[in-house]
């Protein structure tokens, strides 16, 4: 704002007095803004830095007072190796990857198909169904949670990945359908109409024309969906019971309660806060990396569904 204001002031009021005053005020304003940004950024980032540092300390050093920032012994490699060997951490990560991958596959493909139906075909009740779909976005999950659990219980799906994966294949969620439909509506219809004249059927139009043009929105849905799935906690908490089937978030909580491979198999407890720090970082890492890579897709997704919704 300071820049814009400075420029405008000079345009509107080009008198020498203003010219003399501007640089000092401008510099002070800039310094202030940079200071604020740096302090805020440090507060946002510091817990990560602290966790990273803690993951290289011994338990003894971790509980030393006053706290040290840089680990003195620097046993990073030892800690991370212990984490991967003494705790079934790789199994949990693999479970998360399987659930996230299969869920995303179903969610994105079925949401795209449903969005195609809503955006390209006239049928009786279309607006009513679409409205119902949007209202399900507002519905707090608490009301469907218990009957859903009972349904999956009746199907014998408790302690399997199915409850976390299968529902995604039925429409992929109102949010994704809405996001992809908005994008489909922005693609000119001339394309599919000319393909139709050339004798293409609706499936061919969908796969050969719309999908290839929709890579950005599919990437957006996938990026947001990845974070949602990877970080999800309530679902795995309710449906998964045996430690070997835990996803990464659930495993992390289990681990934080003092459970390690040793407790799971032998039943002994020992302090492992340094490994817990290492584990927290590993679980957080895929989303952080994904965000660095696919930043613009996140922002697009949040903005489209936020503002136009």
């Amino acid at each position: 704002m300071a820049v814009a204001e400075g420029k405008m002031a000079s345009r509107v009021e080009p008198r020498p007095r203003a010219f003399h005053q501007r640089p000092m005020r401008y510099i002070v304003g800039r310094v202030f803004i940079y200071l604020l940004i740096i302090v805020g950024g440090a507060v946002s980032m510091f817990p990560f830095v602290w966790t990273l540092m803690s993951s290289g300390k011994s338990v003894w050093e971790l509980t030393a007072f006053p706290p040290t920032l840089f680990p003195q012994e620097q046993i990073f490699i030892e800690n991370y190796t212990r984490l991967l060997t003494e705790v079934p951490f790789l199994v949990w990560i693999r479970n998360s990857a399987v659930v996230t991958g299969l869920n995303l596959l179903g969610a994105i493909s079925s949401a795209a198909i449903v969005a195609y139906g809503f955006s390209r075909f006239q049928f009786r009740g279309r607006e009513a169904w679409f409205f119902i779909m949007l209202t399900t976005m507002m519905l707090p999950g608490e009301v469907t949670l218990i009957p859903q659990y009972l349904i999956f219980h009746a199907l014998g799906w408790i302690d399997t990945f199915n409850p976390l994966i299968v529902p995604a294949y039925f429409g992929g969620g109102a949010f994704n359908i809405f996001l992809i439909r908005q994008f489909f509506l922005s693609i000119p219809r001339d394309m599919d109409e000319s393909a139709e004249i050339d004798g293409a059927n609706p499936f061919q139009i969908f796969f050969k024309i719309l999908l290839p043009l929709s890579k950005p929105v599919l990437a957006t849905a996938a990026a947001l969906g990845f974070i949602g799935n990877w970080n999800s906690f309530m679902g795995p908490l309710i449906y998964l019971n045996s430690p070997r089937k835990f996803t990464a978030t659930l495993g992390l909580r289990y681990f934080s309660m003092g459970a390690t491979a040793a407790t799971i198999e032998i039943g002994s407890l020992q302090p492992m806060e340094n490994l817990l720090m290492a584990g927290s970082l590993i679980v957080a890492m895929p989303c952080l990396i994904l965000f660095f890579v696919a930043q613009k897709y996140f922002v697009q997704g949040i903005v489209t569904t936020g503002i136009k919704g």
Partner: protein
Amino acid sequence: MSTMAGEGARIAKAPLDSMTARQKRMERYGYLFISPWLLGFFAFTFIPIAASIFLSFSRYSVLRPPEFIGLTNYRYALLGGDRLMWPSIGRSFRYAVFMVPLALTGSLLVAILLNQKVKGIAYWRTFYFLPTLTPGVASAILWGWLLNPELGLVNYLIGGLGLPTPRWFASPQWALPGIILIGMWGSVGGGSMIIFLAGLQDIPVELVEAADIDGAGRLRKFWNITLPILSPVIFFNLIIGIIGALRVFETAFVATRGGPARATWFISLHIYATAFEYFDFGYAAALAWVLVVIIVSMTVLQFRLAKSWVFYQGA
């Protein structure tokens, strides 16, 4: 009501009972393509909602078939039979009352800050967004350690300034502020900040220039231009924020398990424990409906209030 307009247009061209072959085909394709969602809607939303209404009037713990008991569950919940119910709703509200205004103001300020022309702005935006991407479990664990009353860094810094150090998750008074602190860290730079940022970039330059010509100061421009134009975005973030805050679960579940002395036993924890620890599914369904009624009435209330302060440019 665009349904009417759509139907009307079609009827004008061809009456419904004599649709062309192509229209019939289109209609069939339309339903074919939305059928996955239709099936899913009935299986995972509609039937569960109906079942959940029925369950809320029953006693059910999986072992025996549900038994209809009328309003007993609701009476138990609302009339004080369940000593944990109202206090837990009160806690969720207290959390929302602090969390929503703080997070909304915070994310608006961050958005304004990140809307400045500053070097490396893309990196700064990423840094501010990272806490949002952190799994709730990880941030609860991480902050649990930072807020450790004896060994934590936060108390080390507070003590270093010569201030009294709170006992955070070891004390009933400070546990809720601790949860709010974690919530703030995880949301100030997050989705609502990005939506604010997009809103800020939509402010017409002409308006700002006109205000400059009139000699408006920075605060005046913020009050008379930025805020009114942002008001629909603020409203959107407010609604989402209230719903999210009233459903707070994960941080408290991981960091404190609702303790100490139930100081962070929110309504969502109460529902979870009733259903999945005590397997009292009928009563848990009733509790869930109480929460939904509260959330819906808060949303309706906000929509009422919105008429007096939300300003739509187009309208």
